[in-house]
């Protein structure tokens, strides 16, 4: 009995040792076989199938390269722990968010500032990649973008004789009218804290001013000054919800909106595929959040939803670049945009889906602005603070907490 246990223990140890160096042996084997293995790590589970198809096509064209489609759950955290272990995948596909910013700052990615591929990308998205990391160099190639816009039910709008609101006053008036007709203007899903962010991002981006975060870092302004209008407007929107708005989550909201339980849905276009899944026949449209009373000034919040970065420690940067170039090719990018309902960061590639008609103008004008929450450190936990705000609706307290948390995180650095 004792012997058997010892055997199990020691074999468990050897096994763990073996798996620890498994990566290396695997790589050597693949190289000696004439095949190069590169790992493509991305955070989009919904795009897994699309990438599978593209990878298959790529491997046919390049029989000596084997691309692994790695897409674990909770990819951001997995990526960070792998970075801490210095075991980065060859290609990283994430959004221009704090995960990307931290990794770029930590020097994990190759500098692509001078890459010719960037000539073909919308400059505003390249700027966003720079801004979010706070660095002079560009460390990733933007690929797809999303848009933070109000989704509305065309059938209900027609029934009540409403047109798409262009100003804040029209927006509130439309909500009033829907409420008066006994319907729900907005379906809120505050049980999931993050669902407060789409609306708040749009409000803040349009009212905070151009240089808010630069000024904040210099100590010239505060959330109490710069975010007051956005927060007050956010609280005003809360009047037009439904009864159990604290108890419903994102998934509930998608289904409820699809079933016509509310006229508008304060989300981004990423929710559309889920809504369509729940009701393929729904007639929906989107429009940018009309935050101010000057429609000329309205900016659409649109961020880089997917970018490609090559890790500095990659053993096969050439092959990795080849794969990225392949994805950037017009036909392949088009296939991705069509299947994922996404907007392209590539110049001249427009999303032709009639559902997204309402956003065309903003894109044509270039009236785009990045998500403000990407500039707020995650340890502040903006989403949960906003969730708190939906409960007590105390604007003053919220702004004070934001300032206090910002200070605290800065101090601890």
């Amino acid at each position: 009995m004792k012997k058997a246990l010892a055997l199990v223990m020691s074999s468990a140890l050897t096994f763990s040792l073996l798996t620890a160096c498994g990566n290396k042996t695997e790589q050597n084997a693949s190289e000696s076989g004439g095949k190069v293995k590169i790992e493509f790590f991305h955070y989009k589970p919904e795009a897994r199938g699309t990438f599978d198809k593209l990878i298959e096509k790529f491997e046919k064209e390049n029989p000596n390269i084997d691309v692994v489609n790695a897409n674990p759950p909770d990819a951001g955290t997995v990526l960070k722990t792998r970075a801490a272990k210095r075991d980065m995948p060859d290609i990283v596909g994430v959004g221009a968010d704090t995960t990307f910013a931290e990794l770029a700052k930590a020097g994990m990615f190759e500098d692509v500032t001078k890459a010719p591929e960037l000539n073909n990308i919308q400059p505003s998205y390249i700027q966003m990649v720079k801004d979010v990391s706070g660095l002079e160099q560009v460390y990733a190639i933007p690929y797809a973008a999303n848009a933070d816009a109000v989704i509305y039910n065309k059938a209900i709008f027609k029934e009540l004789g409403l047109s798409v609101p262009k100003t804040w006053d029209e927006f509130i008036a439309a909500a009033e009218k829907i409420k008066a007709a006994g319907k729900t203007p907005f379906y809120f899903t505050f049980k999931d804290a993050w669902t407060t962010l789409p609306a708040y991002n749009a409000l803040a981006a349009n009212t905070q001013g151009e240089t808010f975060f630069q000024d904040l870092n210099k100590g010239k302004t505060s959330f109490e000054k710069g975010y007051k209008e956005a927060t007050e407007k956010f609280v005003e929107l809360l009047k037009y919800g439904h009864k159990d708005q604290f108890g419903k989550g994102y998934a509930d909201g998608n289904v409820a909106f699809a079933k016509g339980e509310s006229a508008m849905y304060l989300q981004g276009i990423w929710a559309i595929p889920e809504i369509k899944k729940a009701n393929p026949n729904i007639e929906l449209g989107v429009f940018p959040y009309p935050v101010t009373n000057n429609p000329e000034q309205t900016k659409l919040v649109s961020g880089v939803d997917l970018l490609f970065a090559i890790s500095k420690t990659s053993k096969h940067p050439k092959e990795a670049k080849k794969f990225i170039d392949f994805l950037l090719k017009e036909e392949n990018a088009k296939a991705y945009m069509a299947e994922q309902n996404a907007l392209s960061a590539i110049k001249g590639l427009t999303q032709e889906d009639p559902m997204l008609e309402g956003l065309k103008e903003s894109f044509a004008k270039g009236a785009l602005v990045d998500f403000p929450d990407h500039y707020i450190p995650p340890s502040i936990n903006l989403a949960n603070l906003l969730q708190q705000l939906t409960h007590d609706q105390d604007v003053e307290k919220f702004l004070k907490t934001m300032d206090a948390e910002w200070e605290k995180v800065k101090e601890r650095k």
Binding site: K80, A84, L103, K191, D244, P378, K408, K413
Partner: protein, 278 residues
């Protein structure tokens, strides 16, 4: 036999723990190649961080209520299961079932109940408090978590109490029945004192487990609404891994470790004294 065990324990437990203590004196964000030593700075800021205080408050409130509830409930279940009832073994299996299920699955099932089924009943019965999802309420979300956690934890504690009951000699009950003792007197003067060591171990285990509550919170509320149900483990996980404050939350976990150890030792000391007194 002991050597591999010691090696395994050291590699997977002692070494990472020491590493955590080491990082708590640095300013490492969990990613960068470099870090500096900052001494006790992290600890200093920890004590000034009201989010930390708040999560301790929530966690202790939750743990105390749940520990008491779990022990009362599993004692009651065990007394019932020890009676001469039909399908005794079947019921024993049923009560153990929650322990077999994964916490996340249980969490999602209850999530559905709280979000859809309970409000429907509340509406029908005209109970205002139940007509909305309690997990979305700042005041009551913690009760939802207590319900799920207790429901699941009862299984293990029940099994331990059942084992304890087997150690009580039946002559004692025979003697007491001759004296005409009631059921309550039986429990008060025989059963409970006789299973005192099991009571101790159950209290300590339950308290320790509930102080470390994590998955139930993730599955049910994600720490919300606001920060109302943010437990210490969740704060450490969120701040350390997603918030980029690895060293700071390492300091938090060092303190957390000391606190849990202190609570467990105090409990054992206090409860064991009670055992001797009997």
């Amino acid at each position: 036999m002991t050597v591999p065990a010691v090696v395994l324990f050291a590699v997977f437990h002692t070494f990472p723990a020491l590493q955590g203590i080491f990082y708590s004196f640095t300013n490492w964000d969990g990613l960068s190649l470099t870090y500096d030593f900052v001494g006790l700075k992290n600890y200093y800021y920890l004590f000034r961080d009201e989010n930390v205080w708040h999560s301790y408050l929530f966690t202790f409130q939750f743990a105390i209520v749940s520990t008491v509830l779990v022990n009362v409930l599993s004692l009651a279940i065990v007394i019932g299961l020890n009676e001469k009832i039909k399908f005794k073994n079947f019921f024993r299996a049923v009560y153990f079932l929650p322990n077999v299920l994964s916490v996340l699955i249980v969490g999602y099932i209850f999530n559905y109940l709280f979000a859809n089924v309970l409000p429907l009943w509340g509406e029908k019965l005209g109970i205002e408090a139940l007509s909305t999802n309690i997990l979305g309420s700042e005041k009551w979300a913690w009760v939802g978590i207590v319900i799920v956690a207790v429901w699941q934890a009862c299984a293990l504690n029940t099994i331990l109490y059942l084992a304890g009951l087997q150690t009580v000699p039946s002559e004692l009950y025979e003697a007491s029945s001759l004296d005409g003792a009631s059921k309550w007197q039986n429990f008060r003067h025989i059963t409970f004192p006789m299973i005192a060591p099991f009571f101790t171990i159950n209290m300590v285990l339950a308290m320790k487990n509930f102080l470390m509550v994590f998955d139930q919170v993730v599955a049910l509320t994600g720490g919300g609404p606001g920060r109302a149900t943010e437990s210490i483990s969740l704060l450490i996980y969120n701040g350390g891994f997603q918030g980029g404050e690895f060293a700071y939350q390492s300091a938090n976990s060092v303190i957390y470790f000391i606190v849990i150890m202190a609570v467990s030792i105090l409990q054992i000391k206090f409860l064991q004294k009670r055992e001797v007194d009997m």
